[in-house]
């Protein structure tokens, strides 16, 4: 079985103990979040905080907007051969008051998505190399009572 390896170090948990989550930073001074995590400065111009805790961001959010990639993106994107188009979504996290981009899991098309739809975070393969699966966070639509 392939080993799961994060495609980037320290940006998310694999969810081996519970559900996976994005890892952001929270300024100890003013509470401002950042993703990816900031370790050296707070983005708030009125805060000179230098202490940050690493926090798991909300696992669910609502779609701010979405699109897809009909053509294979250029390197350093490592696409499967043959190339399979995928969707991307920018997702608003209510508690953190920020919007985070991510790919949408396979099998979903733009026709399945709407601004405002709820999605949840999952960890999924970005590309494989030998017996290693390089994984990344992706958004998966949450099927609601109204069908999504």
């Amino acid at each position: 079985m392939a080993t799961r390896v994060p495609a980037v170090e320290g940006w998310f948990t694999l969810g081996e103990e519970g559900a996976p989550a994005l890892l952001g930073s929270r300024c100890a001074g003013c509470g401002t979040y950042a993703f990816p995590a900031e370790a050296s400065f707070c983005r708030n111009p009125d805060c000179d905080g230098q202490e940050f805790e690493t926090v798991e961001l909300s696992r669910r959010g609502r779609i701010w907007s979405y699109t897809d990639a009909r053509y294979q993106p250029p390197p350093p994107y490592l696409a499967a051969d043959p190339y399979v188009p995928f969707c991307l979504a920018a997702v608003e996290l209510a508690a953190e008051k920020l919007v985070v981009m991510g790919q949408v899991v396979g099998g979903v098309t733009v026709d399945d998505l709407r601004v405002g739809d709820e999605v949840e975070l999952v960890i999924d393969t970005l590309y494989g190399e030998g017996d290693q699966d390089f994984v990344v966070w992706k958004w998966r639509p949450v099927a609601g009572p109204a069908g999504g």
Partner: protein, 403 residues
């Protein structure tokens, strides 16, 4: 407006946009010589050269200002070069203008030129896991059109924009660019042709996404006093009255290329802050500096990286309220013959983007429009024009010109 905030635009020049495949220095040289000839000045009259860098052609565009100065022949002119992504041209203009307004020189030459590769813009090579621009391609496969498409889709879901609206922007700009000798694409385009072109990043199609081009643009700027002397006492025809090179205000709540996320607005609580979207703040700063408002505009050159993005700009530069861009387009307000033609040059739609030259090219078009010299695409009686643009990583770019 008092002299102390204005500079005169004595000359404008461009090398036609295309996919010529020659060294960018050649394009810059052609544009610079044309601008100098237009100004009635010799290269030796230039005291300050301001170059807009390309990052695609070796050691930051051979550090552009000096490369262009050498190509014109060393004269000892002072030099500055800058890179601000798509806003590089405006940054180079701002630098030249500051030298003039500070009284450090009378005549400055601003030049930008680029030679571009084929296809999607890709990040600079190597394995660079600390660069968000590299990482967004690697981790998300997020190309530039990805971001343009996010904005376009949001307009559709929020304001009811249609695919046909986006296509109509392309049709309008194609019509504007037909008579522009510097435009790369000069054919008429129909809505059907746009809607039949391949989908790239839903809802944006190939004909609605800006291409990458080779090109060069230059302007000659001068102090008002020099301009009057040079013009035999007459007031200069066209002046730059404001240049905005603002950064965003925190929290920037709109996802911007090449970022993975927006700022968090948590610290500002329910009261909000001075933040929000970046684009509206760019021209707002320029209007404030020039002492005008959007109601004073006769034309605008905006950065239509996608056809849909032009509708966002209508609202961002204050031509209409949020969600009203489609109506403005449908009513013909922004077409030649309308109240405020937008992109009379044909815009990026007809040019494609030559990054360090593009913001200068926007200014060149405004200069010709304000002189009444934009043959075949003239905005009748134009007196006030604005350019608007935004560079990667938070670079605002807007220039207000008047006659």
């Amino acid at each position: 407006m008092p002299d102390d905030k204005r500079v005169a635009v004595l000359g404008a020049g461009m090398h036609p946009w295309g996919k010529w495949g020659r060294p960018f220095v050649e394009y810059g040289l052609v544009a610079a010589r044309e601008a100098l000839a237009d100004a009635g000045l010799a290269w030796r009259d230039v005291e300050f050269v301001s170059g807009a860098d390309t990052i695609r052609n070796g050691y930051p565009g051979f550090v552009a200002g000096a490369t262009f100065a050498q190509a014109l022949g060393w004269t000892g002119a002072r030099v500055s070069s800058c890179y601000a992504a798509c806003a590089s041209g405006a940054a180079a203009i701002a630098s030249a203008r500051a030298q003039i307004l500070a009284g450090l020189c009378d005549v400055a030459l601003v030049v930008g030129a680029d030679t571009t590769p084929k296809g999607f813009f890709a990040p600079v090579g190597g394995d660079r896991k600390d660069d968000p621009d590299w990482l967004r391609f690697h981790l998300l496969g997020a190309t530039n059109p990805t971001y343009f498409a996010l904005y376009a889709r949001r307009r559709m879901d929020r304001f009811g924009a249609t695919e046909e609206d986006f296509a109509q922007v392309k049709v309008k700009n194609a019509r504007h660019g037909q008579a522009n000798p510097n435009a790369r694409y000069r054919g008429e385009v129909t809505v059907d042709e746009v809607l039949a072109s391949p989908m790239v990043a839903d809802p944006l199609r190939l004909l609605e996404i800006c291409a990458t081009s080779d090109g060069g643009a230059a302007v000659v700027l001068a102090s008002m006093e020099f301009a009057r002397r040079h013009g035999g006492g007459a007031e200069p025809t066209v002046t730059i009255n404001a240049v905005s090179t603002v950064t965003p205000a925190f929290p920037n709540t709109v996802i911007e290329m090449p970022n993975f996320s927006t700022d968090s607005a948590v610290a500002l609580g329910a009261a909000g802050g001075d933040g929000g979207a970046f684009r509206p703040s760019i021209t707002a700063a320029a209007y404030a500096e020039a002492g005008i408002g959007p109601e004073d505009l006769d034309l605008a050159e905006v950065y239509d990286l996608s056809a849909a993005l032009e509708l966002d700009w209508y609202e961002d530069i204050g031509l209409c309220g949020e969600g009203e861009g489609e109506k403005l387009l449908r009513d013909g307000v922004t077409a030649l013959g309308g109240r405020v033609p937008v992109n009379p040059s044909g815009g990026l739609s007809c040019f494609g983007e030559a990054i360090p030259a593009q913001a200068i090219a926007q200014v060149c078009e405004c200069v010709w429009q304000l002189r009444g010299a934009a043959t075949g695409r003239q905005v009748e009686g134009a007196r006030v024009a604005v350019t608007a643009n935004q560079g990667l990583f938070g670079h605002g770019s807007s220039v207000v010109l008047a006659r």
